[in-house]
Symmetry: C3
Subunit: 452 residues, 3 copies
C-alpha cells in the first residue's frame, strides 16, 4: 500500500498590496474564499492530514482551515521557515509532503497527483512543479540533467545560458516525509533578506545525495495573487474552467463571458442560461430549466423545466420546484415554491412557502419583518393571490383560496375562502379638473417661494 | 436569362454532443433557430426552391423548413446519400444546386452568390467553397491546378506536400443541376464507415471529364456547430457582425460586447444603447431613442426620442410611441404606450393601452390575469394614475381622469373623474411604543421556543 | 520662471461619419462629453489660456469650452487655418502653444508635459508628438536626423525607405508662441484639397532656420474618433485605464470588464464591486462598501460599509450614509438615506429624506409627483414604514413612528405614532369556488366571442 500524503498550505503572507482589511487568502474567488480552492484541490488527493501555516493573530484565516490543523508562524522568516513550523503537526508522517500556497489557488488536484506519482516513482527526496513561462525573467530556472532536477538558479544569479531556459520554478514542492526534517534543517538564511527559502531544499537534498525531480504543469495553475488586479485575472481563469465544464455538461450559454459561476454550481444537462447571470455559492439547477438574462441566484435549488428571470433574484435558502416560473423584478429569500407555482412580476417573497400551482400576483409582498422578528407566510396549493397584495406574516392562505388584488391580509384565510382587505372604489365625476387646478396652483406657489 | 438556383439544406445530423432534447439545428442563435440563418442566407439568393433534408421523426426540424419542401433521409449514410434524398424534390431543375449545412449557420449570401457566379462562368460541374485554415490539420485539402480544383485529399490520406496546403474544403458545394443525378450516382461507399460522401462528387465529375472549381471564403463563415461551446463561439461571431452593422447605421454602444442583438433587430440612426442590453427577436428602434443599461426587449416597436431603462423589460406585442419614458423595474407586455406617456418606476403594464401623455405612477399594476382569462386595461390620454394603484382589468380609465395613489380600481372611471379606492388614514398617537413592545416580545418568545 | 503654456483645441471638424444630430466632440466617453477629456488633460498643465476652435453655429460645442475662450473657424480650410483663427485669442502670449484635437480625447497630461519640456529644452520652434505605429501606412512619417525632426513625409509621398519608417505623426504639436504667427503665415495651400495643413509648420520652421523636434508617445493616446465604432474602442481604452487605477486604489472587481466607470468616479480602499455595475458621472464610494452585481449609480455619494444591490439604481442627488443597505429593485432619486437606514426590496424613494436606522418596507413608494410639482417625503430616525405603503408627499413621518403595511399616508404622522391607511380584512368562507366559476365562465365567453 502507498504511504499516505500530507499537505502543508502556506498562508502566512501579509498581502499588503491588496490594500484591504480582509486577509488576502480570504478574498473571494468564484464564490469561495481563495484558500478554500487550494484546500479542495488538496482534499481530493485524500491526504492523511492538511496543515495550514498562518500568521499570528490571523483568526479568520485559521478558521478557514477548519477542520484541518494549523500552526502559527510567529515571525515571517521565509517559506522554508514557514514549512518548518508545520513539522510538529507532521509528526510520524513518512509519506510525501506537498507544500502549496494559499495565494496560488488555481492549482489542480490532477497536477498535484502527477507530482506525487512522479516523486514516488523516482524515489525522490524533493520534487518541484515547474512550468514553461511565457516570460521567464522573474522566475527561478529549473536546471535539468538526464531527466532529473540538478538545481534551481534564481533569476538574478542566472548566467546567459541559464537565462535562456524557460522552465521555471512554481514553488510547489513534494518532499519525502522521512527526510523533510533534515532537509529543512539544512536550509540556511545567508541571503540578502536573511530568510529561509524552501527552494533551497533542492540543494540540500542534492548535497545529501538524494534524487530531486521536476514535473511540468501549466503556467496558469501557478499564478500567485498579490494585488486586486491579479485576483481579477485568477477569477477569469477560474470562470473559464467552470464555463468549459458547464458546456461539457450540456449547458447552453449565449454569452459565456457574462455568466459568473461559483466553484460549486451544479447543472444537469439541457439547462439554458442567458447573458448576465451570476451564481453565488450553493446553487443546483435541474434539467430543462431556463435561466434568462440578468439573474442573481445564490444558495438555492432550482428544479426541472423551470423558467427563471429575466431580472430575478433568488437568495439563499430558496427551493424552487419543477415547472416554477419566477419572473422579472421578483425576489425570493428562504422561500419554497411548490411545483408549477408562479410569481411572474415585481414581488418579494421572503420566508414564504408557496403551494403547488399557486399564482402570486404582480406586486405581492410577503411582509416577513416587523422590525423585530422574521415570520413565515404559508400559501396552500392552487391559491390565487391578487396583485399588489400584502401578506402580513405570520399568516396562512388556505388551499384554493383567493386573495383579491390590493388586499392587506393580516388574518389567516381558510381554504376555499375569498379574502378582501381593501377599500371600495369611490368615483367622483368631474372632479379631476378642480383637483388638477389645485395641484397646479400648489406647484406654482412652491416655485414662487423658491425663487424669492 | 440565368437558370434558377436550387438550395439543398442538410439537416439530418444527430447532434448528440449537444446533450439536448432540442434538435441541434433548432438551438437558438441571435434569437433565431440555427437553421433559420442558413435558410435566410439561401433565400436572399432568390432560389426557385429550397429543400431540407431531415432525419426520420424530426418533426420540429421539418416544421422549421416550412414553407420550403423537405425530404427525409431514412438512414444516415453520409452527406452524399443525404443529398441524393433531395433529388426527387429537385425534379426538373436544371440550374445550379447549392448544398449547405443547417449546422453551419454563419454562411453569407454574398459568399454563396460568388460560388454560383464562378460555377456559371467556368461552366463547372462541381464548385466547392474553400477557406484558408488557421489550423488545416482536421480538414480535407483542396488541390488546385491551373485555377481549377484538381481533387480533394482527406487529411488522413495527405502526403507531406499536401499536408502543407492550407486551402481547405468547407463542404459547401454547388453542383450542376443537369449532372447532379449522375454525379451522386457515381459516389461509392467503399470507405471505413461505409458512407457516401458528397466530397466524392468532385472525383466523379473529374472522372466524367467535367470542370471542377473552388472559390475561397472566410474560415469563420464555415464554422460547424457540434457542441454547446461551438454554439457560443458562433453566437459571438454573429453578434460581432450585427454590432458592426449597428455602428454603421449610426448606433452608439458604450460597450458593444454587452449588447446582444437578434438577427432581425432594426435600428434607425442616432440610437444610443447602454451596456448590458438584450434584444430578442422582433424589435425596431427609431431615431433619437436612448436604451439605457440593463434592458431586455423583445417583439416590440420603440418610437423616436424615447427613453427606455435602465432595468426595463419590454415583452412581445408592445408598441412604444415617440417620446415615451419607460423607467426602472418596469415591465410592459402586449402594451401600447401612447406618445409621451410615462411609466418611470416599478410597474407592470400587461395587456394595457396607455393614452398619450398619461402618467403611470410608481408601483402601478395592470391586473390583467384572474386565474382564467387575460383582460385589457385601457387608460385614456392625459390621465394620471397614482402610485401603487391596482387597475383590475377589464377596466377603463377615461381621458384626463385621476386615480389617487394606492387605489384599487375595479370599475371604469369616466373621463375627467377622480377615483379613490383606498382607506382613509387613521393615526394613533403614542401607539408605536406599545406596538413595538408587543412585536419585540413576540419575536423573543419565538426565539425562546426555537431554542427549546 | 518658465513662460506660461497656451493650449489650442481644434474642435471644428464635421463628424459626418457619426451619423448623429449630436456634434461629434460632445458624444459621451466615460460619462463626459468627448471634448472634456482633452480639456481636463490640458487644464492639468495649468496653462495661462485654453482656446477652442469651433465651427460656425456649433453653440453646444462652444458652450462645452466654457469658461475658456473660443474662436470660430468660418470656413473649413484645414488644421493650419483652424489654428490661425486662434491667434487673436493668443495675443501677447510668448510661451509654448500646444495644439490638440477635441476628437482625440485619450491624450494624457503627462505626454503633453513631456512635449513641452522637450521643446523648452531644445528651444525648438515646433515640436511634434509621434508614435510607433503598428500599421504606419495611413500616417505621415517623422524623418529624424541627429535627434532632431528633419521633416514630415506624407504617406502618399513617401519613397520605399521612408515607407519603412514606423515613427508617425500624431498631429499634436507644440509651437513657440513668439514664432507661431510667422510659422502659420508661411503655410501654403498648394495641395489637392487647397487646405492649410498645420503639419507644414515643421517645414516652415526649418526653412526659417529653427529647430524642430519630435517626442514619442503611445499610439493609443492619439486615437482619433470618426465613427461610432471608434468611439466604442476609445471608451474601452479609457475604461481599462480607469479600472487599472481602481485596482491600484484597493478596489476589488470580480469581472472588471463589466464594471463601467466614469472619468470622475472616486473610490476609497476596500470597496468591492460585483459584475455588471455602471457608474455615471459624479459618484464617490467610501471604504468597506460593497456594490453588488447589476447596479446603476450616478451623481451620488455612498458612505462607508454600505451594501448596495444587486439590482439597485441610485440616481443623481442621492446621499447614502454609512452602513446603509439598498437592496434589489430599489430606486433612489435625490434621496438622503441616514446612517444605517435600510430599503432592501422593490421600493421607489424619490425626493425623500430617510432618517438614521429607519426601515423602509418592500414595495414602499415615496409618491413625489402629482402631475405638476415634485414634493419631499421626510421620514424621521428609527421609523418603520410597512411594506407596500404609499407616502404621499409632501408628508412627514415622525421619529420612531410605525406605518402599517399597505397604508396610504396622506397626512403627517407624529413621532411615536402608529398610522393606518388601509381597509380591514373581510374573509368570505367558501366563496372562492363560485368566484372562480364566474371568472372561468367569463374567460370562456370571451374566448367564444373571439373565435366567432
Amino acid at each position: 500500500m502507498k504511504s499516505p500524503i500530507a499537505v502543508v498550505v502556506l498562508a502566512a503572507g501579509a498581502g499588503t498590496r491588496m490594500k484591504s482589511a480582509l486577509p488576502k487568502v480570504l478574498h473571494p474567488l468564484a464564490g469561495w474564499p481563495m484558500v478554500r480552492h487550494v484546500l479542495e484541490s488538496a482534499a481530493r488527493l485524500k491526504p492523511s492530514r492538511i496543515v495550514g501555516v498562518v500568521a499570528p493573530g490571523a483568526k479568520d484565516v485559521a478558521a478557514a482551515f477548519a477542520p484541518h490543523s494549523r500552526t502559527v508562524q510567529r515571525t515571517p522568516l521565509g517559506t522554508g521557515h514557514a514549512t518548518k513550523t508545520a513539522l510538529p503537526a507532521l509528526k510520524g508522517h513518512r509519506g510525501p509532503v506537498l507544500v502549496v500556497y494559499a495565494d496560488a489557488p488555481l492549482i489542480t488536484t490532477a497536477t498535484l497527483q502527477r507530482l506525487v506519482d512522479a516523486c514516488r516513482k523516482a524515489k525522490s527526496a524533493v520534487g518541484v512543479l515547474g512550468f514553461v513561462a511565457r516570460d521567464p525573467s522573474p522566475y527561478g530556472r529549473l536546471i535539468m540533467r538526464d531527466g532529473r532536477l540538478e538545481r534551481i538558479v534564481e533569476s538574478r544569479d542566472a548566467d546567459a545560458t541559464e537565462k535562456a531556459i524557460d522552465f521555471c520554478n512554481s514553488g510547489v514542492m513534494c518532499l519525502d516525509g522521512a527526510l523533510i526534517g533534515s532537509l529543512l534543517g539544512a536550509i540556511k538564511n545567508d541571503n540578502v533578506k536573511s530568510e529561509f527559502y524552501l527552494t533551497d531544499a533542492v540543494a540540500a537534498a542534492r548535497a545529501a545525495g538524494h534524487v530531486t525531480i521536476a514535473v511540468e504543469g501549466e503556467e496558469a495553475e501557478f499564478q500567485g495573487i498579490n494585488s486586486r488586479a491579479e485576483l481579477a485575472v485568477a477569477e477569469k481563469t477560474l470562470q473559464q474552467r467552470l464555463r468549459a465544464a458547464a458546456f461539457e455538461a450540456g449547458v447552453s450559454m449565449a454569452d459565456p463571458d457574462t455568466v459568473w459561476l461559483a466553484a460549486d454550481t451544479k447543472f444537469a444537462a439541457d439547462v439554458t442560461i442567458g447573458p448576465n447571470v451570476r451564481f453565488g455559492p450553493g446553487v443546483s439547477v435541474a434539467s430543462g430549466t431556463e435561466i434568462r438574462a440578468f439573474c442573481d441566484i445564490e444558495g438555492a435549488r432550482i428544479g426541472r423545466d423551470a423558467i427563471i428571470g429575466p431580472f430575478a433574484r433568488i437568495r439563499p435558502g430558496s427551493d424552487v420546484a419543477d415547472q416554477v416560473h419566477i419572473g422579472n423584478f421578483v425576489e425570493l429569500k428562504a422561500t419554497r415554491m411548490g411545483r408549477g407555482a408562479k410569481a411572474n412580476h415585481l414581488a418579494y417573497l421572503g420566508d414564504a412557502d408557496i403551494g403547488a400551482a399557486s399564482n402570486i400576483g404582480a406586486g405581492t409582498i410577503a411582509v416577513n419583518y416587523d422590525g423585530y422578528g422574521k415570520w413565515r407566510t404559508v400559501v396552500g396549493a392552487d391559491a390565487f393571490v391578487g396583485s399588489n397584495s400584502s401578506l402580513v406574516a405570520p399568516v396562512k392562505i388556505g388551499r384554493g383560496a383567493n386573495v383579491t388584488a390590493g388586499s392587506v391580509i393580516t388574518e389567516d384565510v381558510p381554504a376555499g375562502a375569498v379574502a378582501f382587505g381593501r377599500a371600495r372604489q369611490v368615483t367622483k365625476k368631474g372632479r379631476a379638473a378642480p383637483l388638477r387646478a389645485k395641484l397646479k396652483a400648489r406647484a406654482a406657489a412652491a416655485k414662487r417661494a423658491k425663487n424669492k
